[in-house]
Amino acid sequence: MRISLLLTCTADLLYPASARACVEVLEALGVEVNFPRLQTCCGQPWINTGHQEGARRLALHFLEVFERADAVVALSSSCADTVRNHYAELFPDSPALRERLEAMGHRTYEFCEFLHGVLGVNKIAAHPRSARTTYHSSCRTLRGIGLSGVAEGYLAQMFGDDFVPLAESETCCGFGGSFSIKLPEISGQLLADKLRNITATGASQVATLDLSCLTHLAAGAERLGLGRIRFLHLGQIMAEVMAR
Amino acid sequence: MSRSEILERYVGIARAAGTHVEFITADDLPGRLAPILLELTESRNPAPMDNPEPRLAALPASGWPQGLQESVGIILAASGYETIMPREMPGGYAWDRDRLARASIGITWCAEFLADTGSLVLPAGPGMGTLAALLPEVHLALSYAEGCRTGLADYLRERGNTLPRRLTLVTGPSRTGDIEATMTTGVHGPRKVLHFILDGVDPETPHADG
């Protein structure tokens, strides 16, 4: 099976290791990975701040780059959610275009969702090194993609009792895109609450499927002197098991 | 659902909402009611809430089934209670409100009650005196088991989707959590609601024959 990789701006800018790892996991599962070099940004920041014209521009470029792909696999939930759930409504007066965007959206998957739902991956071996691990669900993963329990299942298989679920996992980490800089005090409060729950698990690493949350959590952890905790995309942890 | 299943449902939900539901026969009524009346007159914890006339009971004037109001009146008198009711006058009924507000117990007939929500249906009407179920700190409702309906939807359907002009659904005591989310009863209405179902059997009590 052949997929096109949606790198995401955040991975492009900050997390090359996560992206590499996800490619390695996909290839280890027999997937042929294509990387369309002309891809840019899915447009989420423009959509969420209400700048429709800019959003349309980015959606059209995205369509041009990815429309012919059999399947698109995104390395962050929020990007997959944007493409799948928020593109068609940008073009209320163009039914043909909406149809194409919706069709592309149906072929666009978040990484973990793809592994579980399309490739049918249920089993993963135990991780060679034990490490207390927890998982940040992320709002986009839970309510945009509709994915719950799958990543936790993989982590439980990899780490057994060393996987500790996070308390208040339904609660937002406080990033919210522009929210993080428009209302930084509330963002900081929610961040502190989330980090408190994380440290309560005793975890040395936090897995997530949303690179936006990851950026915010890691940066907040560093500010609070919690830099010893690793924040990483689930794919990175899976690669340590599957792609060696 | 069968009649007894509906009744069982009512009992479970009403008790969960804080109503004291009891099944008694008409013969038991004096034996069950007198101790309640006695308890109210003694200064116990919690102390009576309103400026009480401790031996004053409020009753509706109309809407009772045959003979029940008289039976209740006799038990009240035997327990040393005075009774206040809406007074029938030319042009209609009237309450002595100040006195009503000092009654320590309201005893009302409740023709219908709803299983799905554990609710008493209290329609208003001339002499029906629903304030007797609202102002005193203890409210005792009396019903027959056959008055149990599945729920509000059925109650409405039975009436052809019409309503009495004014009615209240009462479920348990008056309550609030407005101070520190601490649940307290008896805010404006009764702190205690009792429901005696005459001529029925308590579905939550295990029977002797299993």
């Binding site: 800019g54 709002c139 | 042009g91 029906m128 209405g189």
Partner: protein
């Protein structure tokens, strides 16, 4: 009413709210209780999801023909003996209610909780006309004594702890200091009982208004709804025309949606169902029942893209789940309507100029939509308001940045440059306190790019290596 004259600055209001740890703990404690009780209650009811769909469809029926339904309701309750008044806006509604009181020569009123009455600043208008209004919902009474506004749609005094209430009662009711909750409630009962018995006017809102039968429905737990609609000789019910439901057969379903979503109760302690004033000969109920039907922008909203906000049942479920509301409580919104539904309704009722920040008071986490009993698309409405606001401004920065981001070369170059700066030249960015950078660094370090080559370089090298 819009609470202040200047535009609402949510960030400013939120800063002190976030810093107030006592407030935050109180808000989250009560919100948590409501959330868990709602969850338990809903789990018990098979078919709740279908009921939500049903509720939405019935409300769509009303909002699709709002003025028609308002007229049907008005005619029916008028036929039952009520006096109906239509109020185009808040000022008119307040004036109508005040006129009624003045014509009766009334000076005392008791009031059962009504957000609509807050919306039209009814208490203030009546006070000015010489009518003393006593709030009778315990939480509303507490904040009335404190001179404050409600901070939660269901539990108005959620931000006050027992000690604060005890102090208020000691000061205003003369009760001993430091009373426990039970004693405080008893003290309130006694005082308010006297007001109920003496009041010339009872003012209520309505949770539902049934068009088919001309019926008002009040949902309370305390019994103040019953007292207010039974004891005073005159009742004024003030409600927005969005409270209407089509048929009496709709009532059971809507009661279920409301009470389970609000507090997790199967039903509230009291549901008061009124179709007209007392009949001659009856000993309870008002002689005169006035119904004030408020538009205040609702009929316009019903025809626009935010129509479903009119479906709101005022249950508070969205508030209880909202991370922003939970962090700051209701007062930071400086509006009658707070939390996710208030973010949307406040700018729509009072204008974007008055409430420019509320569409941003949202991380788009989506928990509100999950909880809403009638499936109002609240996150979508937040974004729609942001679109409206953006359309009102010059967009050159957004347009320019989109042009760059949509161009593969420019996008790669910009990201590459940013990556270099973050990795090696942090100093250029450090120490800024203004703008986006300043906001980011209030609670976070600058992001660190991962070590090693960027992904694109790695991919290119891999491709070349395999050739």
């Amino acid at each position: 009413m819009q609470i202040n004259d200047r535009p609402h600055d949510f960030r400013k209001a939120s800063v002190s709210a976030v810093a107030d740890k006592v407030l935050g703990a109180a808000v989250r404690k009560t919100a948590d209780i409501f959330v868990s009780m709602r969850a338990a209650s809903i789990a018990q009811l098979a078919g709740f999801e279908d009921l939500r769909d049903w509720g939405r469809s019935r409300k769509l029926e009303v909002s699709g023909r709002l003025e028609e339904y308002a007229l049907e309701f008005a005619n029916r309750i008028e036929a039952a003996g009520a006096i109906v008044h239509f109020a185009h806006d808040a000022a008119e509604a307040a004036a109508i209610a005040t006129d009624i009181a003045v014509k009766r020569g009334a000076h005392t009123a008791v009031k059962s909780k009504s957000m609509t009455a807050e919306e039209i600043s009814l208490n203030e208008a009546l006070m000015q006309a010489g009518v003393t209004v006593t709030e009778t919902d315990l939480g509303e009474y507490i904040i009335q004594l404190a001179g404050e506004k409600p901070s939660h749609i269901i539990a108005p005094a959620i931000h006050k702890d027992r000690n604060q209430v005890a102090q208020l009662f000691h000061r205003f009711l003369g009760t001993p200091p430091g009373l426990d909750v039970d004693s405080l409630v008893r003290a309130a009962r006694k005082t308010l009982r006297d007001r109920f018995l003496a009041a010339e006017i009872g003012i209520t809102g309505a949770n539902f208004a049934v068009a088919e039968t001309g019926t008002l429905v009040l949902v309370t737990n305390e019994g103040n709804g019953r007292m207010t609609t039974t004891l005073p000789p005159v009742q004024i019910a003030i409600l927005g025309i969005d409270k209407i439901i089509p048929k009496i057969s709709d009532l059971p379903g809507f009661l279920t949606l409301l009470t389970r979503s609000a507090t997790g109760q199967t039903i509230s302690s009291y549901v008061t169902i009124i179709t007209g004033p007392r009949k001659p000969g009856e000993e309870e109920g008002p002689e005169e029942l006035h119904v004030v039907l408020l538009d205040n922008g609702r009929s316009l909203l019903a025809r626009g893209p935010f129509r479903e906000i009119l479906h709101c049942l005022h249950c508070g479920a969205c508030l209880n789940q909202c991370p922003v509301y939970r962090a700051v409580g209701g007062h930071a919104y400086e509006s009658v309507y707070t939390g996710p539904m208030g973010d949307v309704l406040s700018p729509l009722l009072w204008g974007m100029k008055a409430y420019p920040d509320l569409p941003d008071a949202c991380t788009l986490c989506g928990r509100c939509a999950e909880a809403c009993p009638v499936r109002i698309p609240l996150p979508e409405y937040h974004r729609k308001l942001r679109i409206l606001r953006a359309e009102g401004q010059t967009q050159w920065a957004a347009g320019a940045s989109a042009a760059i981001a949509a161009n593969p070369l420019l996008c790669r170059t910009s990201l590459g440059l940013l990556r270099q700066i973050l990795a090696h030249h942090e100093g250029l960015l450090n120490g800024r306190t203004e703008g986006a950078l300043g906001a980011w660094t209030t609670c976070r370090e600058l992001p660190r790019p991962g070590a090693g080559p960027g992904f694109r370089t790695w991919w290119r090298n891999r491709e070349r290596g395999s050739l």
